[in-house]
């Protein structure tokens, strides 16, 4: 368990924020995998709580969700997992609203958030919860001191951006391209423009969707991102391990080494960034 504040992830230099689906392919291996991410340089970690209908996910994460659910993952097991984790960086729960809404005996997000606070989670990303529906979860997050991270899409215009910013805290999850999650060979050309138009927003901006290499992480940070979020490329390593029946330790080593590459890429991008005329923004 950790009890970090999300702002610590962005405090010195760019944040590398990896994602894994919790419980994929089983509880124990998944603990080892997530701990390897911290060794690889994670500044915060997004932990996916699997939902049976992951409409914002591409095939890689969809399949991870199936593996995890088949191995018996539930919201209670997820919270147990977070409590069992031996990491120090802040942890974010990434899941879909129905699981948040159903948890506990009363319907509504409060019991879920209360339990999340108990196990030391720092915040939430809920991809099927736009600003319009975020009120109740926002209120529960305020009550327990947790962050609600909004996703900004390439289609988000000025008006919507204002709405999003008004309900979010922690950081903004900047979706690098349209579509669903999934590793891509190259970073979308939309990224720089997406970051540019967020320059006035007073929250760290972490870019995700499609990043799979240190090179891409460098490009995104050089373009002005405060952090990079990487999911499918890491989940692919887990899937490959399952496919080849590799020992957990070997998979963890590969996760750690890709994490280190991505984290170093982010640092490199930061160093290559043109100095701002009015001095450093941080």
């Amino acid at each position: 368990m950790s009890d970090g504040d999300l702002s610590s992830a962005f405090a010195d230099g760019p944040a590398f924020v990896p994602y894994l689906a919790v419980g994929d392919p089983d509880y124990e291996s998944s603990l080892t995998h997530v701990e390897a991410l911290e060794r690889g340089g994670a500044d915060a970690i997004e932990l996916g709580l699997p939902f049976s209908e992951p409409i914002a996910e591409g095939p890689t994460i969809q399949e991870a969700v199936v593996r995890s659910l088949e191995a018996g993952m539930t919201p209670d097991r997820f919270f147990e997992f977070v409590a069992d984790l031996d990491v120090d960086v802040p942890l974010v729960c990434m899941t879909y609203y129905n699981l948040v809404y159903q948890y506990g005996t009363e319907q509504g997000p409060r019991p879920f958030v209360e339990r999340a606070a108990e196990v030391g989670l720092s915040g939430f990303v809920v991809p099927d919860l736009p600003a319009e529906e975020a009120g109740p979860l926002r209120a529960a997050c305020d009550e327990f001191g947790l962050d609600l991270i909004a996703i900004v899409a390439p289609t988000t215009d000025e008006d919507r951006l204002e709405k999003l910013v008004s309900v979010s805290s922690g950081y903004l999850y900047v979706q690098a391209r349209l579509g669903v999650t999934g590793a891509q060979a190259s970073v979308s050309g939309q990224t720089a423009a997406s970051i540019d138009r967020l320059s006035d927003v007073d929250l760290p901006k972490a870019v995700g969707f499609g990043i799979s290499s240190g090179e891409q992480a460098a490009t995104v940070v050089e373009a002005g991102a405060d952090g990079v979020i990487v999911g499918s490329a890491l989940v692919d390593i887990v899937a490959e391990g399952v496919e080849n029946d590799d020992p957990t330790g070997a998979v963890a080593d590969r996760l750690e080494s890709l994490a280190a590459e991505l984290s170093a890429g982010a640092e490199r991008g930061f160093e290559q960034r043109a100095p701002e005329p009015e001095g450093e923004s941080e």
Partner: protein, 418 residues
């Protein structure tokens, strides 16, 4: 618009409804809401006039309200059939598909995506898209592709691309998720023609408005034919579009009872450990939750994971249901009931033999309920014949051979299939 909509602005039906979708889709949903209000509710640029003209000339509307002579005699009840099976394509689905493809055209969209369970909505959308000159891609679960081959071929004949969905059990639920993924990738020029009164606002209201032509016609026709309003209206409920279409104009008529007939499958139990419900009865046994963009009644386990549904009819095989229908059930205005696979199959054969109408397996559920409960329904009953059964013949041969259907014809000649 009349009916049970409590706030026209956000599509909330007594707490059900809403817009639970990824942010990437929200601008498109705002744009669609604006187009719905202007064109559908406001008839801007004569949208509704063109829609009605095309429903008549291309779609074959109005459909008859036929008095079913032999069923009336058998049940000692005046039974009227609203013949949506006579709409072009063979089901009520064209009412909505034509409305939405036309709206997409008014909005300047360039591509149509849709999902389909029974293939009826996919077929209707492919037809409407061909009719209006729009490229169209239809997602369909692999299992449903096998159950509904004639419709798959019809979609292809109409130049639609049919994309198999292999995730989960390969039925409608997975096809809807996959279509949402496509929409999220191509949202700038693509319109998602959702197939029922489900999904985020404005879909449930908009699809209901396109389907309301069923009850608008039926209400006038029954007053003329029977000299008054019916005692009951029956319609099968998958997502609930033919149901809401058949009910909408009767919601304000307190003397008219409305029955949403769900697929009882093989049993109304849920096996939480296996993650399956051997039925699709979300109104009858579901609980409140959020799926595919709306808060509604769902088949889910106690953790909020959606369970796999089952029905002999792919068009009813869905774990969710429209939010307005869920609300009308809570209000006590609509009664949710169910009919199991066996009774639906029996009703399929009975209607075919006694009335010369081969109904869709979906529709057969409504007739199964009529058969079991006609004595409690009052003197005048309308059954919505949501579609015809040509698409189901292969499944019916297989399912009939597998069970002991007392009123089936001699099946021995069909042992090798059709």
């Amino acid at each position: 618009m009349t009916g049970s909509e409590s706030r026209s602005g956000d599509g909330s039906f007594g707490g059900y409804g809403g817009q639970y979708v990824p942010e990437a889709l929200m601008p498109a949903i705002e744009e669609l809401t604006d187009a719905y209000e202007r064109y559908v509710l406001g008839n801007e640029d004569g949208f509704l006039d063109e829609f009605r003209r095309r429903l008549r000339d291309f779609g074959g509307r109005p459909t008859p309200l036929q008095r079913a002579e032999r069923l009336s005699e058998r049940y000692d009840t005046e039974v009227y059939l609203k013949r949506e099976d006579l709409v072009h394509g063979g089901a009520h689905k064209l009412n909505n598909a034509l409305g939405q493809v036309l709206l997409a055209k008014y909005m300047g969209k360039e591509r149509i995506v849709a999902e389909t369970g029974a293939g009826q909505h996919g077929t209707a959308t492919a037809m409407a898209a061909a009719h209006l000159g729009m490229p169209c891609e239809v997602y369909m679960g692999e299992r449903d592709i096998n159950r509904q081959r004639p419709n798959v071929f019809r979609m292809k004949l109409n130049d639609a691309e049919v994309t198999p969905v292999t995730t989960g059990r390969g039925t409608l639920k997975e096809a809807i998720s996959e279509t949402m993924r496509d929409w999220a990738s191509n949202v700038e020029d693509t319109h998602y023609v959702i197939g029922s009164v489900v999904g985020p606002h404005p879909f449930p209201s908009m699809v209901r408005d396109f389907q309301a032509v069923i009850s608008e016609e039926a209400r006038a026709q029954v007053r003329e034919g029977a000299g008054g309003l019916p005692d009951a209206v029956l319609a099968c409920a998958g997502g609930g579009s033919n149901t809401m279409g058949a009910f909408h104009r009767f919601v304000g008529d307190d003397g008219v009872d409305m029955y949403a007939v769900e697929a009882g499958g093989s049993s109304l139990d849920v096996d939480e450990a296996a993650g399956v419900a051997p039925n699709s009865a979300s109104l009858s046994i579901g609980s409140e939750g959020v799926l595919h963009g709306a808060r509604t009644k769902l088949l889910q386990d106690r953790h909020g994971q959606i369970v796999e549904s089952h029905s002999i009819s792919s068009g009813l095989d869905y774990a969710g249901v429209g939010p307005e229908l869920a609300h009308l059930v809570d209000e006590g205005r609509v009664t949710p009931v169910s009919v199991d696979d066996d009774a639906a199959l029996e009703a399929f054969h009975r209607l075919s033999q006694e009335e010369g109408i081969i109904p869709a397996l979906e529709t057969a559920h409504a007739f199964g309920y009529l058969h079991e409960h006609h004595a409690d329904l009052g003197g005048v009953v309308i059954v919505n014949v949501s579609g015809r059964g040509d698409k189901d013949l292969e499944s019916v041969i297989e399912e009939t051979a597998e069970r002991d259907v007392p009123n089936a014809p001699d099946m021995s000649v069909f042992e090798g299939g059709l």
